[in-house]
């Protein structure tokens, strides 16, 4: 649409651009600015807030190292659990007659709000075996009730009393409890997107593979996954961004306590409970820096796909 009315696309884009500018761009720039100022956003302090994040001088008030490590854990484990689950479910549901029903059932968790999911799972994880499903199952099987959301021992501590070792850092039972909830929610999304990609694979290739003597397992690994890899990357990048952004799940289930803090809950606490806007803004900037490369990869992929169309 080049030519006399070059400005028309801009006219259509204008409302969206204005909203993005006011609610996204301006706050981002202001956050950068605040990360260089002090707690009350008055005096310039340079990189002191970033130094606070690196040095972690007050682990009892806001443990920045724990938050950063937990975010790493979320990043890897959440994506590593959700993508394979989604893929397997996409393949399996594509082969049953009641495909629509199965897919809806798995997708429903995405339709409820994160807070609702968090509340549901809080009840599931209740320590009191009369209320908490997880502990009811554990006690029925002969074990002791476990504090799923508060236990900082290794994940095996729900089998033995206090775990064989206390695994270091973020590898705690309660982090995994939270990640499982995240997976429960997002598997539906991964499944739906991958299923769409799956349907795009021409049946002729699959037929040919079967005729050539390939079994289902080989077809899955050597044909389906390579063809689906762009879709898998899209799903993975979305999930990575979700993992980095995770706030509501953690906030509602544990309030970031018991060393389950992530960067999002931590900067919320810093800014609005402890009222240190400098550190809060610095944490938000760190999170932004973390997400930007993922977004760049994602956009580059999208452009590449557009060009090769």
């Amino acid at each position: 649409m080049v030519g006399r009315r070059w400005w028309v696309p801009w006219l259509w884009l204008a409302p969206a651009l204005i909203l993005v500018g006011v609610f996204l761009l301006y706050p981002s720039i202001d956050t950068f600015r605040r990360s260089l100022l002090d707690a009350r956003s008055q005096d310039f302090v340079g990189l002191d807030n970033y130094r606070f994040i690196i040095e972690n001088p007050q682990p009892l008030v806001s443990d920045t190292h724990v938050a950063l490590w937990n975010n790493f854990l979320w990043l890897f484990v959440f994506t590593a659990l959700t993508v394979p689950f989604g893929l397997v479910l996409a393949v399996l549901t594509g082969r049953v007659r009641y495909e629509a029903l199965a897919k809806s059932a798995i997708f429903i968790p995405m339709a409820i709000s994160f807070v609702a999911a968090a509340v549901i799972w809080r009840f599931m994880y209740e320590f009191n075996a009369d209320i908490g499903t997880a502990n009811a199952v554990t006690t029925q099987l002969g074990g002791e009730p476990t504090a799923w959301l508060q236990d900082k021992h290794s994940p095996l501590s729900f089998v033995t009393d206090a775990g064989p070792d206390n695994l270091p850092g973020p590898l705690q039972l309660n982090n995994f409890s939270l990640i499982i909830v995240g997976t429960w929610m997002w598997t539906g999304f991964a499944m739906v997107v991958l299923s769409a990609g799956l349907k795009g694979i021409s049946s002729e290739i699959l037929e040919a593979a079967r005729v050539d003597g390939g079994n289902e397992w080989q077809i899955f690994w050597r044909i389906i996954i390579p063809i689906l890899s762009p879709t898998i990357v899209v799903v993975a990048t979305t999930l990575v961004i979700q993992a980095l952004k995770k706030f509501d799940l953690v906030w509602v289930m544990t309030g970031g306590r018991f060393d389950t803090d992530v960067v999002a809950t931590l900067f919320f606490k810093e800014a609005f409970v402890i009222r240190d806007f400098g550190v809060g803004a610095a944490l938000a900037v760190v999170l932004l820096m973390w997400v930007v490369p993922v977004m760049v990869i994602s956009i580059r992929r999208f452009q590449f796909q557009e060009e090769t169309r």
Binding site: V8, L11, P57, Q58, P59, L60, V61, S62, F127, N128, P145, A147, L149, Q150, D151, K152, W251, V252, T254, G255, G256, R257, F258, F268, K269, F272, V273, I274, R275, D276
Partner: protein, 439 residues
């Protein structure tokens, strides 16, 4: 081409229509003419709506509304009450964003002091008659707590004693055990716990889980022990910073708390159970049938949870409290303060501060008033009356320690409590960490 044009015109018209609709909607609540701040009991006076931010919900909210009803009858405006336990975050956001509520009624005074010293609050003197009413009707200790830099900014409503150890009288009777008194010592409490354990019942039900604020019930234990063992001066010293958290006496208080929490079999579910059980759920085990535990240490508000969960329970027979051994009483209260001196705000503040209004909630139960005009007879049963008595007659009363300091130190204390409960060996590091949070 023509279709493109007409579509464009249609959109412009639609957009401008939306804009006009947004602008034209608020003719109805224009500012009132000449507002008088006090009604003379005749025609309802128009003072506008009042926006109140507090922590109450459900039951407590209903009782607050009952308390506000007489004001409602005198004035045409509405009281828009928002209740949230996350009040610190919401209040901070609103104040920073330039949209504070008219009145805020939180439970911690650290934020109140910060706002007051930053000049964001309206002193009570800005409302006609308010300051003199408060000075006349409230005890000195509570007036001092609400004074910042010599100016009175707020008043206390809904106080709560934290010197109450709840117990099941039937369990005590069956095991021939007497409740303790204010003259008992902490060692007597340990001995009592051991006696109950030997008789076959778990002595304590403890639950410190409470979302982002997990750990606060433990801090109540520790500050009560500190007040009784170390005395009021040390307590005050911790608050104003002259005595550090690493002091021997503070460490001793933590270790005494540890004697209860870490002792084998003393706590239902052990330390893990304490960290994982919500504070409200922890109020139920002593009063279930059969009782799962004998005692519960939680503030006076626990009677509300117990009465709601067990509607057939009779106050005094099925649940009662004895005073935390030692005689010193800690407590907390909601402090009401205003951000402006609009007519509506002032009239509501006056109403809430009055003894008559507070009496309404007192009679409904679950509210202890520190207003001297409210007589002890207004309390609905012996248990609530004794709580009020304990609060008012306390020889050594102190405001909740972490509520008084607030801010980062409060967060550190709560985290420290849950850390200490899960790992008793880290006490020195924990106390150093709390002290480091002081700025």
């Amino acid at each position: 081409m023509r279709r493109g044009w007409s579509l464009g015109i249609f959109t412009v018209v639609l957009a401008s229509g939306l804009v006009l609709a947004a602008c034209g909607g608020d003719d109805d609540d224009s500012a009132s003419a000449t507002p008088t701040s006090v009604s003379d009991g005749g025609e309802p006076v128009d003072v506008g709506d009042v926006d109140v931010l507090g922590i109450w919900g459900a039951d407590e909210l209903e009782k607050f509304e009952a308390m506000v009803k007489p004001w409602d009858d005198l004035y045409t405006g509405n009281v828009a009450f928002t209740g949230t336990r996350d009040i610190t975050a919401i209040l901070t956001t609103r104040v920073e964003g330039g949209n504070p509520p008219d009145i805020a009624i939180p439970a911690e005074i650290g934020l109140f002091r910060q706002f007051a010293s930053e000049g964001k609050l309206t002193p009570l003197s800005a409302c006609p008659g308010l300051e003199s009413q408060v000075r006349n009707e409230y005890p000195d200790s509570f007036i001092d707590l609400a004074t910042v830099d010599g100016v009175l900014y707020g008043f206390f409503m809904k106080a709560d004693t934290k010197g109450t150890i709840w117990y099941n009288p039937k369990v005590f009777a069956e095991n021939n055990v007497e409740p303790l008194t204010a003259d008992s010592s902490f060692d007597d409490l340990i001995a009592l716990s051991q006696t109950l354990l030997d008789a076959g019942i778990t002595p304590w039900s403890v639950g410190v889980e409470s979302g982002a604020a997990s750990g606060w019930p433990g801090s109540d234990w520790i500050q009560q022990i500190l007040l009784n063992e170390a005395g009021g001066e040390v307590y005050d010293g911790i608050i104003d910073g002259s005595i550090p958290f690493t002091d021997e006496k503070m460490k001793d208080a933590w270790e005494k708390f540890g004697q209860i929490i870490h002792a084998e079999g003393f706590v239902l579910g052990g330390p893990t159970g304490a960290n994982a059980t919500g504070f409200q759920e922890s109020a139920f085990p002593p009063f279930e049938s059969p009782p799962q535990a004998a005692m519960l240490y939680l503030g006076g508000f626990a009677s509300g949870f117990i009465a709601d969960q067990f509607p057939n329970a009779v106050a005094g027979e099925d649940y009662d409290f004895f005073t935390f051994p030692g005689g010193g009483i800690t407590g907390a209260a909601n402090i009401a303060y205003a951000f402006n001196s609009d007519p509506g705000t002032c009239s509501l503040m006056l109403h809430l501060a009055k003894g008559e209004s507070q009496k309404i909630w007192v009679e409904l139960g679950g509210f202890t008033s520190v207003n001297k005009e409210v007589s002890l007879d207004s309390y609905p049963d012996a248990v609530t009356r004794n709580q009020a008595d304990q609060l008012v007659a306390a020889s050594d009363f102190r405001f909740d320690l972490d509520d008084a300091i607030g801010g980062a130190v409060q967060t550190a204390v709560f985290t420290a409590v849950t850390e200490y409960i899960s790992d008793a060996s880290s006490l020195d590091a924990i106390l150093a960490g709390i002290e480091a949070a002081r700025q």
